[in-house]
Symmetry: C2
Subunit: 247 residues, 2 copies
């Protein structure tokens, strides 16, 4: 199609990296490309913490579930939703202000993800590999403390970046029709579409594990969603004043 | 730098489009590029509603604040956070399940934004222009009703796509240092950084309006955040069962 779309179509997460460092100027370019993503009313409600201190990296990796690549990747970034800078910028005193609202929480979560995805694609366009680390939310309060995040700032995900030292398969996505609706939401054909996807996923898993393991998408989702996960998120975001709406 | 990063660096929102239609195959490619974005544990917690019905377009445009481009753009998509398909896929009966949790709300908001940003960049790589439409959240319950969204599905933003019929300036972003921290969050230099950005923003606004209007970033943010905005988001997301965590 073109270079950019071909690149996206080849995306897979990279969890093993060579020892080659990412030049600081390249990293700056990647983050600047992230900044160029759309942002709601230009609020730019995100911050990125570049973790270079090796002891801090080690502690964060432990908090994120001891994934080796969080310690080993040449670059580790923590992408945060940030309404605090806006509050500082406005310097509201006694006037009414609407900052920590559910609407703005949504805005900041979307803003940080848009910027991160631009950065991810920019990194990949430079021959780097990346993986998002949702595990940063495992012990989110401790991670936030370690990074010195003030009120109205929360970690959303980490990101490892480096030169790939593995060549993994591209994971098939849901059939287009299962996510792309015309005029109205339609789940009528989910049964058939998910059957189809289960077969694709099983085949992919077999290929990926050299025939050793396999699971359907639906079974993987059942396994995942039958267990409680990060039930602290509601109270953590409330403690950071991300939703103070009256009702 | 390279084609992909150059493209990102030239991004600006497009709100005026030529009458040229976007071929269906191209739109499918754009959405498929969106699907290739990273997704948390492969949950793919999003759906896209392609609004082709002109009466529905008109109604949505009215709900979104009567922005002309929402009616006039060749393509209008509504990007939704979607935990409903997962619920269908799992078919939990009496077993305990954790679907409508704050954690999964965050996951679905991030997932939909990552996919949308890939799609946005893919569209731009094909010579198209786009603009995100947060206004879809203005009357979110009505928009959700119009699109037939079930529980656990919420509109997050719209997106207009088409061939650009305007050549707008690139809006400067915050200085890199104001969003990019090392090891710890630091707001120490915000005053200086935001002063610098205020000057850049004023100049940009003067250039954009042919010298007619200008405003600093901080003043624009003050104006925005001193007014209540979409305070229905909390109760709407609750009504859609996006956070049912016990505490």
């Amino acid at each position: 199609m073109n270079e950019t779309i071909d690149l996206m179509m080849r995306h897979r997460s990279i969890r093993k990296f060579t020892k080659e460092q990412v030049p600081p100027e390249l990293l700056r370019t990647i983050v600047q490309a992230g900044q160029m993503a759309s942002t709601s009313s230009n609020v730019q409600a995100y911050s990125i913490i570049h973790v270079t201190d090796s002891e801090k990296r080690r502690q964060l990796a432990a908090l994120a579930g001891n994934q080796e690549h969080v310690t080993e990747s040449p670059v580790f970034l923590v992408w945060c939703a940030d309404l605090y800078r806006l509050k500082q910028a406005c310097d509201f005193k006694d006037e009414p202000a609407y900052i920590g609202t559910t609407e703005n929480m949504v805005v900041s979560l979307v803003d940080v993800a848009l910027a991160a995805q631009n950065a991810a694609v920019a990194a990949e366009s430079l021959g780097l590999g990346i993986v998002y680390i949702g595990g940063i939310r495992n012990k989110i309060a401790e991670a936030a403390e370690l990074l010195g995040l003030p009120e109205l700032v929360t970690p959303v995900f980490g990101m490892c970046i480096g030169y790939p030292d593995q060549n993994t398969l591209i994971r098939p996505r849901l059939p287009l029709e299962a996510v792309f609706h015309e005029n109205s939401y339609s789940s009528e054909r989910y049964e058939e579409q998910l059957n189809r996807y289960d077969i694709m996923t099983e085949q992919y898993m077999l290929n990926r594990t050299g025939g050793k393991r396999s699971i359907t998408w639906r079974q993987a989702m059942r396994d995942k969603l039958s267990k409680p996960a990060r039930l602290h998120m509601k109270s953590f975001l409330a403690s950071k004043r991300f939703w103070e709406d009256e009702k």
